[in-house]
Amino acid sequence: MLLIHCPYCKEKLPELEFEYAGQAHIARPENPAEQTDAEWRDYLFIRSNVRGDHAEQWRHSHGCGRYFNALRNTVSDKFIATYEIGQACPTSHAEGEENNEQLES
């Protein structure tokens, strides 16, 4: 079972308290009416699905109830960092930098 650190509760707790909520840092289009079909596809459906460090959202649903972000390695399932919504994705991890750039591009 994963042990997940909630950045709001400042506590490491079992996975059962949390709900996975998909890839992080996907911004909703500011002008929905001007989006092309391809842009909608990218926003709604296309996911990085990286084999490596993955920025993702979790919700502490059986705790504080708040969403937060996490950087986790999808091969080892090890959490590299968890951080509050609105904060930038940490890039301290050496291998993480390349993947994070891909996520933002």
Partner: protein
């Protein structure tokens, strides 16, 4: 290669099976192929077989980073059914069931296809309505599926608990008699053997590093751990690893890879006659010919390539199994494992061409690819050979995520697929 028959079995029995020959050679990678298929699972090997058999294309390699059939083909719970809601899906999955029937003869290899029937339990009013809708839709599409009362379900499957005060009361079940199971390893081995006999090279333990494209954008070949190999056409059939492989060709996909777990019990005498699935309590179960109960659960909630999942899910699944089949409460489990399944937003596969010339894609089967193996491989081979989709897989395009013409099988697939 010798042909299997009653006579060859008898001869083998009398001579102690001392002269068993390899069923396919471990091929060397050539410098150029007409078609290279990435991923030596059932889908990939099957596509190679149908390319050779039906389209006369034999300069084909199937390449895999591990051993053949070692991915999801060797990790699933071997359930076969075709009771999907929408017309497109019914045609695709039923095409597979039609091919399962007769596959052993076609391959001259016993895949142990057993049409023991698949029962899907309804535990609440929503389940009842949804399954009845599926049954009506299936029957319009010529797919067999009938409604069973709790008593009829119990009659078919005696270990089932239909007590009114059960934790998960059984309000009825949908039953597809043509569904069942097959021996998963034999499917990979049978296709490998039959494809190799027609000249297909099977390259194992050779990771693909990247898909290379020329100046005009079309594919030129593959960079592998054993060097560069030229290819006119490349077909990716890599399940959970598809996003990673396709990323090297510059194609981003609407896929997420999740762990999916399964487990088996100690072997016991025949007790469980069908496949029983319970979508709303997230468990499915059948008994293998070896006597083990084969139990599957839903996907873990997070994206992962680890090929193992968390124990909470196993606990949840077994709790459900023990409630629905109290007789199994004292059964001991032998082992559990995980595979990595590639899930699309609409729970339907992507099977067809890509924006890249010469690059073909078979992915997104999520938690239910095994059942479709022969059908998927058959129409995928057609797509590769003719450079256009077969009518059956034509709706399962990558572009449907742009046009919005989704095939939303989330209800049929749900967690248990």
């Amino acid at each position: 290669m010798s042909k299997f028959s009653a006579m060859s079995l008898l001869k083998g029995a009398l001579t102690g099976y001392k002269n068993v020959e390899p069923q396919w050679p471990d091929a060397e990678l050539k410098s150029e192929y007409d078609v290279i298929i990435v991923g030596a699972g059932g889908h990939g090997l099957g596509a190679a077989y149908y390319l050779a058999k039906e389209h006369g294309i034999t300069n084909v390699a199937v390449i895999d980073k591990g051993w053949l059939g070692g991915g999801n083909t060797g990790r699933n719970t071997t359930i076969i059914r075709s009771n999907y809601l929408y017309d497109e899906s019914a045609r695709l999955y039923d095409h597979a069931v039609d091919l399962w029937d007769g596959l052993s003869q076609d391959l001259n290899y016993n895949v142990m296809f057993s049409q023991r029937g698949v029962m899907m339990l309804a535990h609440n009013v929503h389940d009842v309505q949804s399954f009845k809708r599926h049954i009506h839709s299936n029957r319009l599409n010529g797919v067999d599926n009938v409604w069973l009362t709790p008593e009829q379900a119990k009659e078919k499957c005696p270990p089932l608990n239909i007590a009114a005060n059960a934790r998960y009361p059984v309000m009825g079940a949908a039953f597809q008699q043509r569904g069942g199971t097959a021996r998963h390893d034999a499917v990979a081995w049978g296709y490998a053997r039959a494809a190799a006999a027609r000249g297909v090279d099977i390259i194992q333990n050779c990771p693909v590093l990247s898909i290379e494209r020329g100046l005009d954008g079309s594919v030129t070949g593959l960079q592998t751990a054993r060097g560069f190999v030229k290819a006119k056409k490349i077909a990716v059939s890599a399940a959970g690893g598809t996003s990673v492989v396709m990323d090297t060709a510059g194609v981003q996909l609407p896929l997420e890879s999740y762990p999916l777990q399964a487990l088996v019990s100690e072997p016991v005498k025949p007790i469980f006659p069908q496949v029983v699935m319970s979508n709303s309590v997230h468990a499915y179960i059948s008994q293998s010919d070896k006597g083990e109960l084969v139990i599957g659960s839903g996907t873990d909630q997070y994206v992962s390539y680890s090929q193992r999942g968390g124990l909470p899910l196993i606990e949840h699944t077994l709790a459900a199994i023990c409630e629905v089949f109290p007789i199994f409460r004292r059964m001991r489990m032998l082992r559990k494992w995980g595979g990595v399944v590639d899930v699309t937003p609409d729970r339907s596969p992507i099977l067809g061409k890509t924006p890249v010339q010469g690059l073909y894609l078979n992915c997104g089967w999520g938690t239910g690819g095994f059942k479709a193996t022969p059908g998927s491989a058959h129409v995928f081979a057609h797509t590769i050979a003719k450079d256009e989709p077969h009518p059956i897989n034509a709706p399962f395009t990558l572009s449907r995520f742009e046009t919005g013409r989704l095939i939303d099988e989330a209800a049929a697939a749900a967690v248990a697929h």
